[in-house]
Symmetry: C2
Subunit: 345 residues, 2 copies
DNA sequence: TTGTATGCGTTATCAC
DNA sequence: GTGATAACGCATACAA
């Protein structure tokens, strides 16, 4: 900018005023400045500007895994929204690791992001403190943090799973395997209560041996399904609490020489684009990813636009059961053989 | 930092020296500083630091679509690599729009990113200029830019498609529908030449009516497949140049009451995690996404670590044909009826 | 070992 | 309408 000012034979203050339209500057000087800018190829330094203004027009976004289609979609929508609003977004993936998360949030805060969107990981103790001390607005998405009362948008996980399990029960299933992630994140807890209530509602006893917990990855789903399907009295249906794990579960079904839906019905959380073009066409619980992303962005944008003091808002969206053909009435099942050995990949 | 200095009754210079380990500072003062930092909850302001140092330890990453599994994976790997190296990454999605891309790159450069990774979009004219004027290292991934000789990592697209089409030809297919994106990006051009050469090599005449071009989205694949399969002498196999378009193509096949591989063989570019658990299990060309991401990151990191003058490097990786069960010998096909009308979604 | 002074590129406040 | 100048928070050269 100094160079521009010199080339245009004006002061830096005038250049700044011209660029930002702060004050009206004469035709004369405007022309000289404009020309100097072009000749020099001057670009305003956003870092210096940020330092002075105290705002970076950048937000931080941290999610567990970007390869999980649910987060891919949410990130995509959020990214677009902030792009439109003239904000840049710094993306971090915690890989379900608590230490990564702490580190990344610190990094983001150091860089003076104007706001934070967090799909958290692990237990909430440290995060609670971080969120409360951060002097920037933060909105939580998908996963809440105990005791933290910030803006957030979540799904009605309980209801969604209740519906899904009820659907399975109506098809006559009584032994429904349940593959979940650890209960230290709210969605997993809430989904589990949906399972419980659906069983209770149908008068079906809860069987702890039908519940397997993993770390949300494909491999965990594989292991869990292997164990479930190797049970003496194996389940006739399996529910998976997320997409990566259901892929693992399907592989387990395949490797055991079983098939879906002939031998076992499958239903899972999170929809994906090709769910209805490949077979079995999975019955899923679709989250309104577009709305989730947009609402999340809009909550943060609202704070960024100055609405700092409004009481925190909690948006709860509804999931939708996408019935396809991966579930069958239990009487239609191929007779249920006991799986003897499960030696495979 | 000023507050810390005051609380510890030292100068800001000493605090800075202590934090960065620039000079050794006495036990005495170290203790006071340490305590002051904790009490105040001081965090170093990376923006001010960046302004002074001229480096942000942030890189910019721009891709067409994060929801395309190929880019999802590449972004994920790159993100991890820079995370490990202590860099933040700003993510932009151009949505295959040239204006977005220009704007976003400008935005990134204004923010003084230390480097740029670009999977470009549209024609290369403006981008060429941008890349050449940017005084930060840039590495191109997946798509090259005509006349720009920067670091880049690409796939041997020609070879990969040559193999895939040859595979189809060996199965007896002679009419192979080809769904592509516009030829203003290098991969689409190179893939097309692979198609050409494979046909030539097998002595099969090239038929322009079997080639349909779209904008890389699912809807384009749908339209293209609809047209191809409505041809009087319809193709017995279809190749799709990316993943979103093959999803559309599969939907078209379904909507026409056809099925794969019984009526039409399908093969596509880019692999995805559940390719081998759902049916038909798609035969795909798998890009080494892990390697692509790592090499890309490592090229940029190398520049960032000071190796600025080395001649530009062009890394070419190989694709791998993942043969599954979406392709059949042509004599095994169900008799080929002429599709009369194609009125659907 | 520690402190003083200066500058990184902006914007804002004030004189003129 | 225009131009000095201070300040944003930090790092560094140099003095002490």
């Amino acid at each position: 900018m100094l160079h521009v000012a010199e080339a245009a034979r004006v002061s830096v203050a005038t250049v700044s005023a011209y660029i930002n339209g702060t004050t009206t500057v004469s035709q004369e000087l405007s022309g000289r400045i404009e020309q100097a800018i072009r000749e020099i190829g001057y670009k305003r330094n956003a870092i210096a500007r940020s330092l002075k203004l105290g705002t970076t027009r950048t937000i931080g976004l941290t999610v567990p895994h970007i390869t999980n289609p649910f987060f891919t979609d949410v990130v995509s929508v959020i990214q677009q929204a902030f792009d439109r609003a003239g904000y840049a977004v710094m993306l971090c993936c915690t890989d379900e690791d608590l230490n990564n998360q702490d580190e990344q949030i610190r990094l983001l805060l150091d860089r003076m992001v104007d706001g934070l969107i967090i799909a958290r990981v692990g237990d909430g103790a440290y995060l609670k403190e971080t969120v409360e001390r951060a002097n920037v607005p933060v909105v939580l998405v998908d996963r809440e943090v105990d005791g933290v009362d910030s803006d957030r948008v979540v799904l009605d996980n309980h209801q969604a799973v209740f519906e899904a399990i009820t659907y399975l029960l109506e098809l006559g299933h009584r032994r429904i395997g349940y593959i979940t992630g650890a209960f230290n994140i709210t969605p997993m807890r809430d989904r589990m209560t949906g399972y419980h209530e659906a069983l209770l509602n149908a008068g079906v006893a809860f069987d702890q041996s039908l519940v397997r917990s993993g770390d949300l990855h494909e491999a965990d789903g594989y292991t869990a399904a292997m164990q479930l399907l190797s049970l003496h009295d194996r389940p006739t249906a399996i529910f998976s609490a997320n997409n990566p794990m259901v892929v693992g579960a399907m592989k387990a079904i395949r490797d055991l020489g079983l098939s879906c839906p002939e031998d076992v019905s499958v239903i899972c959380f999170d929809d994906f684009p090709w769910a209805d073009v490949f077979n079995p066409q999975l019955t899923t619980i679709a989250q309104p990813v577009q709305a989730i992303g947009e609402q999340t962005a809009s909550l943060l944008l609202d704070r960024l636009n100055g609405n700092r003091e409004a009481p925190s808002r909690r948006l709860v969206l509804k999931g939708r059961l996408m019935v396809r053909n991966s579930c069958r009435p239990v009487q239609a099942l191929t007779s249920v053989p006991t799986v003897v050995a499960a030696s495979s990949t």
